[in-house]
Symmetry: C2
Subunit: 360 residues, 2 copies
DNA sequence: GCATTAGTCGCAATCGATTGCAGACCGAGC
DNA sequence: GCTCGGTCTGCAATCGATTGCGACTAATGC
């Protein structure tokens, strides 16, 4: 349906009529053949000249003509054709659910910048945050023949998918999640971060510490929760499961989690939110209930996003370097693309104490 | 260098060893030629079968064999080759500086989702927020032969670039910025939004209204500023340029702008921040100076990002539908790609009154 | 039964860049 | 003067999907 008879005007008569303005960058990016014709050489020669960075002993006359023709034509190599021939597209695919989340966006930005520096482009997908949709995205990226894939939304305990990803004809690196069985991954030390946050609160004398623990399927959140549990156990504090609330990562999730915890018969005196955005939500919930942070409630977040430092009451948080995480993910992926092995990396975290935590 | 003798295992003997599990998607995405060989037909036939959605009168025997072969091989069409042949990649390029900004990320997400629905992929670049870097990104995208480009970071009063973009061999649509001379664009009614915000404050009795006006080069911010000026003028209030502060869009910019305004000899009683993120920064600045919002200072933001509704003191803001903006940008771009003309669109805005504004 | 029509299939060219191979050409060394 | 090593070029094949053209088959109408 809606089928045009022909795209028309392809190889027929001479150029429509813009031959009159050769000084302005041509609207039609040329081809090697055009350059070759203009310079009076074979396309292969043109190709060699243009990809050769430095001529051993000065440019030959032909080479100079090629260079000039390319300049005049505003030539841009057709990476499609090159990719087809080379079986290498210099493109990496991204599967990043929840791109609106600052953490994901920052990761994305870092990945793109690093990839560009390495001469790679980035094909982005932001599927819904379920594994089926993510696998669909992967299929799409494969069709485009990306050289490798970075994913941030892998769910924990879904090793089926992980194995399928590992069996793909291109390497896959997981970011912002601890290394699983089959896939290399780059993440910050979520476990340690969870411990740090919790121990900070314990050291301030809090014993009833709630946690807004993110979605159950989120691997990073789960590790932070585990760190929290370990810290409590290390202090011989009984685990109270009513203090653990799973919600979404967004502000709304934080509000919900905050209200849930604060409406307990015996509410916590401190809350650890496994991400800063949710922590802001908790702050709002506390405020709505007439509680003052940090006087009535201590609060720790995670990731130390820029917002956190600039809140009316600056947020105590666990800092993770998202820029480095993204860069490292790209490096590991490129290593795998170049025939090496992607290695899992864990980045250090650090507690940044600000104004939302206070001794009991 | 690093040249493998042969990719091996293509159409030769039996599959390496996983022939025992034909149900699992093969790690090597096949080619049309392989399918054709397996089904005993010509590649062109395979191509026709696979792209034909509905067989006029049932599948022919050959077609069925093709389908089965494709299934068995886990065939994924090589979009590179198809794009080369068709001179259409079904890919749109994105030039989105400042992706960490929620506004940009939300736009990006909407664009990607809409594009995917339309059968398009998205090549993302997030260059630094200057026009030179953005034009470099455009060049890169052109090399990849994208079918069209969406940009969100175009600076105002840089018509040189705008004209160059309009002269490109592929259509370009600007998003989140009023239509300029040469380019179609999709934006919300920033002018009206600026007016609404300011008039709201005026109606509450404020007469000394400061504005944290974003970077000078930002077109959307400038329009909001203009709306602010118009509203003041309509109320016969003298323009006081010391009440206009240009900063970055991020929280830090808001903090800076807030402090600047609040440290004036005669500080404003209300502030309009042209984006919510900066508004949060202003709130922090006020808090740091011992001022209470909204008792001592009224505050209006712009964009109504999800965070705003869930702040301890929910932010009054001008709502713009970023999801729709992204979707519309894609629609207009696709229209242009299909040979039509991209039309500029302006989306309505609405004031959402919450708790940061109060009568004087 | 024969001619017309519609649909199917194979052939080969095409999109544009890349690269192995082989011939041409250069200067140098004997 | 001749040969050797090295560089520059051209030729042609290749990557994989698509499509116009022509041949062939099947179905329909008279």
């Amino acid at each position: 349906m809606a089928q045009k008879p022909e795209t028309a005007a392809a190889p027929d008569g001479g150029d429509p009529g813009n031959a009159g303005a050769p000084d302005q960058p041509e609207p039609t990016l040329g081809t090697l053949a055009q350059i070759a014709a203009m310079a009076g050489v074979h396309p292969s020669t043109a190709s060699r000249v243009l990809r050769q960075s430095e001529p051993a002993r000065g440019w030959s006359a032909a080479a100079l003509r090629v260079l000039e023709a390319a300049e005049q034509l505003g030539y841009r190599s057709n990476l499609l054709a090159a990719g087809l021939r080379n079986r290498r597209t210099r493109t990496i695919g991204l599967v990043l659910p929840r791109l609106q989340d600052y953490v994901v966006a920052a990761l994305c930005q870092a990945i793109e910048s690093t990839a560009r520096l390495g001469g790679y482009h980035v094909l982005l997908t932001t599927p819904p945050d379920d594994m089926t949709a993510q696998m669909d995205s992967v299929e799409l990226l494969l069709s485009r023949r990306v050289d490798g894939i970075i994913m941030t939304g892998l769910h924990r305990e879904e090793s089926v998918f992980e194995e399928r990803l590992a069996a793909l004809p291109v390497p896959v690196v997981a970011a912002n999640r601890r290394d699983g069985a089959a896939l290399a991954s780059v993440a910050c030390d979520d476990l340690e971060g969870g411990r740090l946050a919790t121990e900070h609160l314990l050291s301030l004398g809090h014993e009833r510490i709630g946690i807004v623990a993110g979605p159950r399927h989120a691997a990073s959140a789960w590790d932070r929760l585990t760190g929290y549990r370990e810290a409590l156990a290390a202090h011989d504090l009984a685990a109270d499961e009513s203090l653990v609330v799973h919600t979404q990562f967004d502000v709304g999730g934080g509000v919900l989690g905050g209200h849930t915890l604060l409406s307990l018969a015996e509410p916590p005196t401190a809350i650890f939110a496994v991400n800063d955005t949710a922590a802001v939500g908790v702050m709002a919930a506390a405020y709505q209930r007439g509680l003052h942070v940090p006087d009535d409630l201590s609060l720790v977040g995670f990731n130390d996003i820029p917002l956190s430092a600039h809140l009316p009451i600056p947020l105590t948080s666990v800092r993770s370097d998202l820029g480095q995480m993204g860069a490292l993910a790209v490096h590991e992926l490129l290593r795998a693309i170049d025939g090496g092995e992607a290695r899992s990396q864990t980045l250090p975290v650090a507690l940044v104490v600000r104004s939302t935590t206070k001794a009991r």
